[in-house]
Symmetry: C2
Subunit: 160 residues, 2 copies
DNA sequence: CCCATTCTGTTATATTATAACACAGTCGTT
DNA sequence: AACGACTGTGTTATAATATAACAGAATGGG
């Protein structure tokens, strides 16, 4: 069990489901989920936290490979470009996508205590921002919405 | 003239107004706008773009000082903490606040062509996000909303 | 099989950011 | 004025994040 959307759940399924979704999506669109890309996705799926590229490198090296930074960055670039992972700008770190396959652009709730990251439902906010920006002539292409705060678990733990 | 909120305007006033606002705010709250902090604010105000810490360092060095990275980062930390500037996470860069004094947390419209940055009116989005996050028990403390796209000027310039 | 393209391995380096510590300035108290 | 506490500055060094560049291997279409 781990935290996902800040609710406890059976975590084993996350990894296999996430990989399966990516494999299906790649098959459908002619992308190649190579061994390295798949491995990096698994590493991200194994945590519901943002991991830095160098955190991922450590895991790859623990696998026995003498991986250099570009190995991690390339795999991450592929995963992010194709919607299997997202970059959390605030943390210079990466998370596996919580809704692979679904068309969406993410908003994040980032716990400042435990670093857990949940994807928030923000489609309406996104639409509002597009609309509001359009009024001033700005054409929005990509939106990052990231909230820092306390997740339910850490709020409870706080005995202030 | 320069771009501000993507509209052209008399830019000279920006610098003096921005510095004056910061001086007034510091006086009111017992903060010290030292020479370095003021200089960095001026540098930021002189552009309506995000500047990296090392861009600022270059300008400081051009002033004749042999400034080291902590000089820039310390001044920027002061300015950001006290609302005279904001960090644009997406760019690892900093902009002068466009509404000094007013209580606000910013949303940014970042032009991917010319790197101009405008503060967008996003109070409603922010409230919606707080509310939506609260539903899942997450207590939002800080929100970053950053949209990447094309500003009006660059949209016009695009002859696609 | 051959070629073009994509992916990988590797070295090197660029960019962004902070730790740590000695010293200078400020300010309130004596 | 002397002291001490605190805050700010100057400086060296290093950490953390990210990319350029290029050679070679793998893949896939013709």
């Amino acid at each position: 069990m781990s935290s996902h959307g800040f609710a406890s759940h059976n975590h084993n399924a996350c990894i296999s489901n996430g990989v399966a979704a990516a494999e299906a999506a790649c098959l459908a669109s002619g992308l190649k989920l190579t061994a390295q890309r798949k491995r990096v996705l698994e590493i991200l799926l194994a945590e519901h936290r943002a991991m830095g590229a160098y955190d991922i490198l450590e895991v790859l090296r623990a696998d026995g490979q003498p991986a250099q930074p570009p190995v991690a960055y390339r795999a991450l670039a592929f995963l992010v470009e194709n919607g299997f992972a997202h970059k959390v700008e605030r943390l210079n770190a990466f998370v596996a996508c919580a809704h692979p396959g679904e068309e969406h652009a993410p908003g994040f709730l980032i716990c400042r205590m435990c670093k857990a990251v949940a994807e928030a439902p923000i489609a309406p906010l996104r639409r509002a921002l597009h609309k509001s920006a359009a009024l001033s002539g700005f054409a929005v292409e990509h939106v990052a919405i990231e909230a820092l705060g306390l997740c339910p678990n850490c709020t409870d733990r706080q005995t202030i």
